[in-house]
């Protein structure tokens, strides 16, 4: 059927900020969808609150709104734009939920706006547990038997009926708290009792356990004429029991016979037809490893994380085709965008294996509960492609950007057998490495299968690789062994470790012996048809398919997996760098390992190499492509870390040179530059002894910021006001400070701000200054920021401009740099310089409308700022005010303290823009999900040291009609100052009301807590914060943020004065 001509203008809803479970994959799908709609000639309106996305570029949609994703805002935009239709299935769960909510308000009917893609009724049918169960019964498709119970007896009766084991899932508790697997009556009695107590609704879902079943996912598509197809079938390494987002996943399915595969395929296609989905859909199935029995686990009636993975795994662009289907096109009339010769109605055939490994944030959150289960905890993922499962697995591990680069784990080696088995039975993020270690210790396949329930086939992949470790170590650098090792995915670095040589020695040996990689194309059809997809992966075989062209090329290094501190912002920068290079006539070649992103869409660059971001892999690509150079400025720290090694191997680093990159990061060299330029920075000293620290503090003057040079998880970083505190600090942190040099810096009270600047060696352009809302002590990535700055004098701005110009030129920056300042006594002090694009680049680019990355890329390629029409200096500020707010994923991660400190914790960001600071703030809070009513009640639990600061804030809350709740200390303090306050009982106090009940019962609308940020799991402060998060009560831990929130609330409040 041809595309529809009765609609012209379509609104697409994005997925908002990056949170765990909803990450960069929706930037990829949303971008693809918008471009596909544009390609078909439709006018597009895009709404998303996340500025760090490609989809919010003006090139992607005709009308872009970066606004909070709330019903009110979208309603306003609907009235303003009057689109004919709404496409909600590409913006994750947020997009779907909003479409449902909008429909309920009646606005869609009123304006005659049609919902494209899957109908809302189908969405409801797929999402509502009961309706879904009914549909499955109608279709005779099996689902795990389940029942919601309110008593232990009901639970026991049901379990008797369906058989043990059963899973207990308490209703409305965070991350499945209080649930568990019961193998018999005794266990069920205990778990159900506990679960019912913990459940606010006194309800538990009892479900027959299918743990141990194989978990199989199908990505399926359907058009309006009921053409259906499977794009990709994926099989989880981990059996049912671990969230698929936290599972290691293989594609294509690895252990299914054709009979099993076809039965499951039939089921997946039956479901998509029954749900009448128009577009893409994800079906999760569980297959009994010992019979033909299977269960339907869940259906996602939309494009999902898995569909992004499936798109990258097969080359088949699901989101693009989902958008085309939504406007009435059918699969049998759209060309396959990969082969361009066949039609989109084509089930891809793979001639390689893909492995996805999730990227968890436990390197940042060392205290977090690392056990994996039904709640997803990963922030991102990596994908490895190889011709064998072994090769793909090792490439994926090498891509993770964690300490672990292969299966050789020191931690696992040091574990006792008991610890090892515990790690195998209770899966955590690192189970794979313990499996390898178990094989080294002589555990058999059967042993490990028994302990992990993982299929023998998958375990054997690891066993085989472990066995090979020994072979490599014994044989040393011997051509046949090394060739085999490379075919099995061993990196040069791992081989080097096994044979006691340097990675470069291994590389040289390989090259001398002609053991070099070839690159194979991802073409959707296993080579059956001719295709020209510029999408490659390396392997060690005979034929190389990637041919170097005559055009001068540039390698752009991506940022790898999304993790805390290195988010989608860097993918944004990578994509813009590519665009600029292409406009200049260069061939832009991307190397990246993250399947979720826009940069790994093969249609973005001239060539895409899907490879681990390691020196070895980048050098191999450079060997083949002979680029004029490599750009490392836009791929975050991952890319910067590769610069020195690349240069050592004769690869030109474009832009700021390696020597100058080092100068910015080497403390001593940097101090000298600051001194030479006559700039200010907080005085700092490094010392190694206790006495040295005390002396240094005295010399610098209190307060000082003290921390070990080697900081783990932000621990042991503290601001101390006097010698007594410092001594206490040293006593407390003896273990950490004993073995590492200590940094003592002058702590300056003041406003923090930062700039992203572009320098061509002579001129320096500052598109804008961003002022942080929170003072020092909160990581800049977790701070709210405002552009243009609201409290800086012109003089201070001039100081910042001057210092930035001087620093950029002195540090010989060519391209982009980020500088953080603190403003103390009207003087700008330099805190930190990063000689690369920072995470604020997309925000600043969007608000200043200066495509900073593209500008910087042209500078890097030799076009001066002047030639691009910029004189340099600080650009004139905008009229509108823009506020960026961080977004956190605490509710997904047990045991992580939500108290904001020097270590970054946020996973994403939103932007609010309006004519005034207060309005912009209000929107930013709304976008970040801080839904605080105009008046209500606030609970204050404040550390003694902060009491003086809380008073003015409490007064302001009181003035706009908020009721104040506080524990006795704070309450008596506030009462003493004439503020009516309700006293709540502390955790261990008797009395009413109890603090946790007040939070649980939503007796307050906001919790402000600055207590006990010592990372201790059982401290009162921690428990209060956890409770607020579990019960979705907005929580603030920094008083500066509270002040900002008050600004927004006061703006919306009315004055009530006595006549």
């Amino acid at each position: 059927m041809p595309k529809r001509t009765d609609i012209h203008k379509i609104m697409v809803i994005g997925s908002g900020p990056i949170i765990i479970g909803q990450a960069a994959e929706f930037d990829y799908s949303g971008t693809q969808a918008c471009l596909a709609l544009k390609e078909e000639g439709y006018e597009t309106v895009l709404v998303n609150s996340n500025p760090a996305t490609i989809m919010t570029d003006k090139e992607v949609a005709d009308h872009v709104y970066i606004e909070p994703l709330t019903v009110a805002t979208i309603t306003r935009i609907l009235r303003q734009e009057a689109p004919d239709a709404l496409l909600p299935t590409l913006g994750g769960q947020i997009g779907l939920n909003l479409a449902v909510a909008l429909n309920k308000t009646g606005i869609l009917d009123e304006m005659g706006i049609e919902v494209l893609g899957t109908k809302l009724s189908s969405i409801d049918q797929a999402e509502d547990r009961e309706k879904f169960k009914e549909l499955m019964q109608e279709l005779s498709e099996p689902v795990p038997a389940s029942l919601t119970v309110a008593t232990v007896d009901q639970a026991l009766d049901f379990a008797k009926m369906v058989g043990y084991p059963v899973i207990v899932r308490p209703a409305f508790t965070m991350g499945g708290t209080g649930g568990g697997l019961a193998n018999n009556e005794t266990e069920l009695t205990e778990i159900a009792k506990n679960g019912l107590e913990l459940s606010p609704a006194t309800q538990c879902l009892i479900e027959k356990s299918i743990a141990g079943f194989k978990e199989i996912e199908f990505e399926v598509m359907r058009d309006a004429t009921d053409n259906t197809m499977v794009v990709c079938c994926m099989e989880n390494f981990d059996p049912v029991g671990i969230h698929t987002g936290d599972s290691i996943v293989f594609a294509p399915s690895q252990t299914l016979s054709d009979r099993e595969y076809q039965r499951l395929r039939d089921c997946a296609l039956k479901l998509i037809s029954a749900l009448k989905i128009e577009g893409g859909c994800n079906v999760q199935l569980a297959l009994d490893p010992n019979s033909y029995d299977y269960n339907v686990i869940e259906v996602n009636p939309r494009v999902s994380r898995s569909s992004a993975l499936a798109s990258k795994a097969t080359g088949y662009p699901i989101a693009k085709l989902a958008a085309k289907i939504a406007v009435g096109l059918t699969l049998d009339e759209v060309k396959n965008p990969v082969t361009k010769t066949t039609y989109a109605q084509f089930e891809p055939a793979l001639d390689y294996v893909v492995v996805k490994i999730p990227r968890w944030p436990f390197d940042k959150f060392s205290k977090a509960d690392r056990r994996l289960g039904s709640q997803m905890k990963a922030t991102g993922e990596v994908m490895g492609i190889g011709r064998t499962a072994e090769e793909a697995l090792l490439k994926a591990i090498a891509s993770l950007e964690i300490d672990q680069k292969d299966l050789l784990s020191r931690e696992a080696q040091e574990a006792s057998d008991r610890e090892l088995e515990a790690k195998l039975v209770h899966p955590q993020d690192d189970r794979l490495f313990y499996i390898a270690e178990a094989f080294r210790r002589g555990y058999s396949l059967d042993d490990l299968h028994e302990l992990t329930q993982i299929n023998h086939y998958f375990l054997d992949i690891v066993a085989g690789l472990v066995k090979e470790e020994g072979q490599i170590a014994r044989a040393g650098l011997e051509p046949a062994t090394i060739r085999q090792a490379k075919q099995d995915g061993y990196s040069d670095a791992t081989i080097a470790q096994l044979v006691n040589r340097s990675p470069i020695a291994v590389r040289n040996f390989r090259k001398q012996n002609g053991i070099v990689p070839v690159y194979k194309m991802v073409d959707t059809c296993a080579g059956e048809f001719d295709s020209a997809t510029p999408y490659f992966y390396s392997t060690y075989e005979a034929e190389n398919e990637s041919k170097r062209t005559d055009r001068p090329s540039v390698l752009v290094i991506g940022a790898g997996p999304i993790r805390i501190g290195q988010g989608v912002e860097f993918d944004y920068a990578t994509v813009h760098c590519v665009r600029a290079l292409q406009k200049m006539g260069y061939e832009a070649i991307v190397i990246n390992s993250n399947p979720e992103t826009v940069s790994t869409d093969f249609s973005v660059s001239d060539k895409l190499y899907f490879e681990p971001l390691t020196l070895e892999n980048v050098l191999n690509v450079a060997d083949l492509e002979q680029p004029i150079g490599v750009i490392v400025q836009f791929g975050g720290q991952t890319a910067i870390n590769l610069a020195a090694g690349l240069e050592e191997n004769g690869i030109k680093i474009l832009g700021t040179t390696v020597k100058d990159l080092d100068a910015a990061e080497d403390r001593e060299a940097f101090d000298q530059v600051i001194k030479d330029l006559g700039l200010r920075q907080p005085i700092g000293m490094t010392t190694t002894s206790r006495q040295g620290v005390l002396d240094a503090a005295k010399e610098i003057g209190y307060p000082v910021l003290v921390r070990p040079s080697y900081v783990l998880g932000g621990k042991a970083m503290e601001i101390v006001d006097n010698q007594a505190e410092l001594e206490a600090y040293l006593d407390q942190n003896e273990a950490v400070t004993g073995s590492h040099p200590i940094l003592v810096d002058s702590y300056l009270e003041g406003t923090e701000c930062e700039v992203d600047a572009i320098c061509d060696g002579e001129r320096v352009l500052l598109p804008g200054i961003m002022e942080h809302i929170e003072h020092a002590g909160v990581h800049s990535g977790d701070s709210m920021a405002v552009y243009p700055p609201q409290s800086l004098s012109n003089d201070v701005k001039a100081q910042i401009e001057d210092a930035t110009k001087k620093l950029a030129v002195a540090l010989k920056c060519i391209g982009m740099m980020n500088i953080q300042f603190i403003i103390h006594d009207n003087q700008a002090y330099v805190l930190e310089v990063n000689p690369r694009a920072s995470r604020t680049v997309p925000f600043l680019s969007k608000v200043t409308q200066i495509e900073m990355t593209q500008l910087a890329t042209r500078v890097i390629m030799g076009t001066s700022l002047a030639e691009q029409g910029y004189q340099g200096g600080l650009v004139q500020e905008s009229q509108l005010v823009y506020v960026k707010a961080p977004v956190f994923s605490f509710s997904k991660l047990g045991d992580v303290d939500s108290y904001l400190g020097p270590e970054m914790k946020s996973t994403g960001e939103v932007m609010g823009a309006d004519v005034s600071f207060e309005k912009a703030l209000d929107k930013a809070f709304a976008g970040a999900g801080m839904a605080v009513p105009n008046n209500g009640a606030v609970l204050l639990t404040i550390e003694d040291g902060d009491k003086a600061q809380i008073l003015p804030l409490a007064k302001r809350f009181n003035a706009i009609g908020f009721a104040l709740f506080a524990t006795c200390g704070t309450a008596s303090f506030l009462k003493k100052h004439g503020l009516p306050t309700t006293t709540v009982a502390k955790l261990n106090e008797a009395g009413q009301p109890a603090i946790l009940d007040v939070i649980k019962d939503k007796g307050v609308d906001l919790v402000i807590n600055t207590m006990g940020h010592d990372d201790e799991k059982n401290s009162d402060g921690f428990i209060i914060r956890q409770t607020a998060i579990e019960h979705h009560v907005p929580l603030l831990t920094a008083l500066d943020t509270v002040a900002a929130l008050l600004c927004a609330l006061e703006m919306k409040s009315y004055r009530t004065t006595e006549l």
Partner: protein, 360 residues
């Protein structure tokens, strides 16, 4: 042990041996199916062929008796990127390696199968030989160049004697040109009492069996060699419902004046989209054919094209305009492959039932 695949164009691929220790010659073809290696290997349509799997891994779930498509596989050799070390499946009865060894089928793993497939795509099907040493390879190449295509393969794979697959209700005669067991399974599911006849069954023989319908099976090789069968069908279709699959389809076409042609590298795999011309519906089909019906040769007064391959427009299905006879180039019996088109067996059964009803 090392093993080599030598092609007639002189290319030599070096890999590792598995399966039987035996040298073999055959036409080198490839399949893109990602599951179902056992069904493919036991499909007699691969007689005299060396089959290359584009899926890099085979052997991962072993083999079992239920999934065999014939008793004695006729395939000459198996080539893949990697044979799984460990196979697991609850139905597994043997490893693929053992299974092949016992049946005298050699295998080769560890070669760049993608490079090989691209060559076959470019140059069309080539003859090849699996050998275990490099000595005398020039002679091997020379022999491969000289060799003429294997003739009359169907008589080797077809049953020598009629046999029944008892059931009740409908009497169906199946003519065996190299039948896949899954065809018999589909008929058994639909209450058919089946008699399987050799490829050279005559119309007279068939009509004397008081059959309610005739199914023409799949089979290897060139349909033009099946002159006798073509004559048989030209007669039988006037009296009984006829359903042709794969080779059976080509024979039905020839019986009604159409021509067949050899394809460059054929269709082997099960992601081939096939469009039903009348309804527009597209199904994914299991295919294994190196010959096809020439669309331009079809006499529109006799035959109607019912199915077309979406991408290259190969004739995938025809129906007789006057007789209750139809056929498809693909395998509605799947195995391996999707079940999307199994409705066609129901269509055949309803033709059979309608005829029976009419007679009563």
């Amino acid at each position: 042990m090392q093993r080599y695949l030598v092609l007639e164009d002189g290319t030599i691929y070096q890999g590792t041996a598995f399966g039987a220790n035996q040298e073999t010659t055959g036409e080198v073809v490839f399949t893109t199916g990602m599951t179902g290696y056992q069904e493919a290997i036991t499909d007699q349509s691969f007689a005299n062929q060396i089959l290359v799997f584009t899926n890099p891994l085979i052997g991962n779930y072993g083999v079992n008796l239920d999934d065999n498509e014939s008793l004695l596989p006729q395939i000459k050799g198996v080539v893949c990127r990697k044979l799984a070390h460990v196979a697991t499946n609850w139905r597994m009865q043997d490893t693929l390696d053992n299974f092949l060894t016992q049946r005298g089928i050699p295998g080769l793993e560890g070669i760049d199968t993608r490079a090989l497939v691209k060559k076959l795509r470019r140059y069309g099907t080539l003859r090849g030989r699996l050998v275990d040493q490099t000595e005398g390879i020039t002679q091997v190449i020379a022999d491969l160049k000289k060799a003429t295509p294997m003739k009359n393969v169907i008589p080797q794979v077809s049953t020598k004697n009629p046999y029944p697959n008892p059931g009740t209700k409908r009497n169906i005669v199946v003519v065996d040109f190299g039948i896949k067991h899954s065809i018999l399974r589909e008929l058994a599911k639909r209450d058919c009492n089946v008699i399987v006849l050799p490829y050279n069954a005559t119309a007279k023989q068939i009509l004397s069996l008081h059959a309610d319908g005739v199914l023409l099976s799949n089979g290897p090789g060139d349909p033009l060699e099946m002159k006798g069968a073509v004559e048989m069908v030209a007669e039988v279709e006037q009296h009984l419902p006829v359903f042709g699959i794969c080779m059976g389809h080509q024979i039905l076409a020839l019986a009604n004046g159409a021509k067949t042609v050899k394809m460059k590298f054929g269709h082997r795999g099960f992601n081939h989209p096939v469009k039903n011309v009348a309804t527009g519906a597209v199904n994914f089909t299991s295919q294994n054919h190196g010959y096809a019906v020439d669309a331009s040769s079809i006499d529109p007064t006799k035959l109607l094209i019912t199915h077309l391959e979406l991408n290259d427009q190969t004739v995938e299905g025809i129906r007789h305009k006057h007789y209750p006879a139809f056929s498809v180039q693909f395998h509605p019996d799947a195995a391996p492959g999707p079940h999307d088109a199994d409705q066609l067996f129901d269509d055949f059964i309803s033709l059979v039932d309608q005829r029976k009803k009419g007679q009563n």
